[in-house]
């Protein structure tokens, strides 16, 4: 599903070059559950952004869903994000003036799903994420865990194949973080390809494939049944 070959991402800051990604080769199959760990500044977020088509690599080949993303123009990339990719961020990124229901509905609004169908899907999604009674609340009236669940509900309402989560529990306490992880893993069980960036070793160990990055390189790629598989 994902095929990276010799991918580089170089940022130019003044006359200095920052190599955020160096020579990344990576292939990910549908339905995988990956964790991505490594020290701060090792390039985890940058890699996730490249995989999510938010950032273009400086060099290298990148195939996604069977298509070379270098061939896609901005509009086509936006369509791929709309149809196939979901993002979850550490700081939730809910639109503060919109209600929970409206935040969750955003991807369907962008995809021009008719209103009746949209309302129905939002209602079902909120129910599935235990947010039904918070539908008309605004983000500042929600707890951290509810906010992240809203964000995940939004990321997955468009039925993407790939879910990219950048430190999804980074702003949550342990208990709430565990709840959120449970929600993500349930989505993976339903067939979603899940990539989670985390600093939490316990969380990292739950994945069946664990990548380790240092200084822009992938230095570890460990496959073993994770804690999540064991729990099943």
């Amino acid at each position: 599903m994902i095929e990276l070959q010799g991918v580089q991402r170089v940022f130019r800051v003044g006359d200095q070059e920052v190599h955020a990604l160096r020579d990344i080769d990576l292939s990910i199959a549908p339905g995988e559950y990956l964790s991505l760990m490594g020290p701060s500044g090792s390039g985890k977020s940058t890699l996730l952004n490249v995989l999510g088509l938010l950032d273009r690599p400086t060099a290298g080949r990148c195939r996604l869903f069977g298509r070379d993303i270098g061939d896609l123009d901005d509009e086509a990339q936006a369509r791929v994000r709309r149809q196939s990719i979901g993002f979850v961020f550490q700081s939730f990124h809910l639109v503060p003036r919109l209600t929970t229901a409206q935040n969750v509905a955003l991807p369907l609004v962008l995809a021009e799903v008719p209103r009746a169908e949209r309302n129905e899907r939002v209602r079902a999604q909120l129910a599935a994420f235990g947010l039904a009674d918070r539908a008309e609340h605004r983000p500042d009236e929600l707890s951290g865990g509810q906010r992240q669940r809203t964000a995940i509900a939004r990321a997955t309402i468009g039925r993407p194949q790939l879910l990219l989560a950048d430190e999804p529990t980074g702003n949550l306490d342990r208990k709430t973080g565990a709840d959120v992880v449970e929600v993500l893993e349930k989505l993976h069980d339903e067939g979603l390809t899940l990539i989670v960036v985390t600093h939490d070793p316990d969380l990292g160990r739950r994945a069946h494939r664990r990548l380790r990055m240092v200084d822009g390189r992938i230095v570890g790629d460990e496959r073993a049944p994770g804690a999540h598989d064991a729990a099943r």
Binding site: A78, R81, E112
Partner: protein, 401 residues
């Protein structure tokens, strides 16, 4: 994104920034209301003036001494050496059957005294016909006597204000007033006519034309007012006047004959231009409103960088982002314009209730123009911020908190 959704999204962001939105709407409304009201005032004024002109009679032909138009031909050797337009010239015009009546006019300014009171006043030397030609109304007494205009009598007719200034509340009819070294008997007082075409009839004194000629020691007339028999004979009267006067002046056309309608259309044009000029100056406030809209949109974009990044992550392409922000500035401009029109409509109706000369209600085209202008402002000042939002790099926009 569907149009309805785009509008709802933009409207919701405007609602979220309530006080900012209201201030911009106010600025826009004031700008539109200002331009609309000033245009309306100018239009009302123009209509008032042209109505006044029409009330004087559109059959009026005015003969002026001298040639003010350049009609080509050899230029006069020593500048403008126009011959006087004499009383006999004026009376000769009566020969044309297109001329119903005419009033020769000598005008000047002189001190009028009665007892110890003295006023500087406009003197109009004319004939009995003036009353009919200028559609004047008498308040009391009689107008100048009919008879041979070449013989100057000692009658005079006072305007309302002048009468009051000279006589106070005392009766004026039959009294004598002094103009320079001559005495005139007041035979009549004009009804209050108000201002008409820049001359305040209320402050004038009308005396026989020959008396005025003697008073100012001049043969020449200021002008001759000619009333054509009807509207259709105005052109014929004009031609006749020119022909008769050319014959009397050795074949040289040294007078100018203008029709009331020509004056009317000139005035109309001038006042129209004035209206546009005033409206143009008022339009500066619209420019200010536009800049405010741009300012507020620039602030909105920088405050909502994360939101833009998110929308891009959710799959919004750059054009969608641009459209969303453009709708916001357009809504500001259009809603503001709507408010401004309502404001102008109400203000004009209230004003018209107090000033009957004003037409009630703003002209219909003002609404169309206001929305056109608002559209231009919304797009013109909203595009730059919207393009800026659309160009934001999603990674950078999401990273900054």
């Amino acid at each position: 994104m569907r149009l309805a959704e785009e509008l709802a999204f933009a409207a919701q962001s405007l609602r979220a920034a309530r006080s900012r939105t209201l201030l911009i709407l106010l600025a826009m409304a004031i700008g539109i209301a200002g331009v609309t009201l000033l245009t309306w005032l100018g239009e009302s004024g123009r209509r008032y003036v042209t109505d006044q002109f029409s009330a004087l009679g559109t059959n009026l032909v005015i003969v002026l001494p001298g040639r003010t138009e350049t009609t080509g031909g050899a230029p006069p050797l020593l500048g403008e050496t126009a011959r006087d337009l004499t009383l006999d010239d004026a009376l000769a015009l009566q020969r044309s059957d297109a001329v119903l009546r005419l009033a020769p006019i000598v005008a000047g300014s002189i001190a009028v005294t009665h007892g110890s009171r003295e006023r500087e006043a406009m003197v109009l030397g004319s004939t009995a016909e003036l009353l009919a030609v200028r559609h004047l109304e008498l308040g009391s007494g009689t107008f100048l006597p009919a008879g041979d205009p070449r013989r100057g009598g000692a009658e005079c007719v006072l305007g309302q204000t002048l009468r009051h200034e000279l006589f106070g509340n005392a009766p004026a009819l039959g009294e004598w007033v002094r103009l320079a070294d001559r005495r005139f008997r007041v035979t009549g007082v004009l009804a209050s006519a108000g201002r008409s075409l820049g001359t305040d009839l209320d402050e004038m004194v009308v005396i026989p034309v020959a008396a005025a000629q003697a008073l100012f020691d001049t043969e020449g007339l200021f002008r001759v007012l000619v009333e054509a028999t009807d509207r259709d004979s105005v052109a014929r009267a004009t031609a006749d006047c020119e022909r008769i006067l050319r014959d009397r002046h050795d074949g040289e056309l040294d007078v100018t004959v203008i029709t009331q309608e020509a004056v009317l259309s000139t005035f109309d044009g001038i006042l129209r231009a004035l209206t546009y000029a005033i409206a143009g100056i008022a339009a500066i406030s619209l420019l200010v409103a536009g800049i405010l809209i741009m300012n507020v949109m620039v602030i909105a974009v920088s405050q909502r960088r994360a939101e833009v990044g998110l929308l891009k992550a959710l799959g919004a392409a750059a054009p969608t982002i641009r459209t969303l922000f453009l709708w916001e500035s357009l809504l500001l401009a259009l809603l503001g314009a709507g408010g401004g029109l309502v404001l102008a409509e109400v203000a004009s109706r209230v004003a018209a209730a107090f000033v009957p000369e004003l037409t009630a209600g703003t002209p219909g085209w003002a609404a169309a123009a206001a929305f056109g202008v608002a559209l231009a402002i919304g797009v013109g000042f909203g595009t730059a911020p919207a393009v800026r939002a659309a160009r934001l790099d999603p990674v950078a926009a999401l990273a900054r908190r």
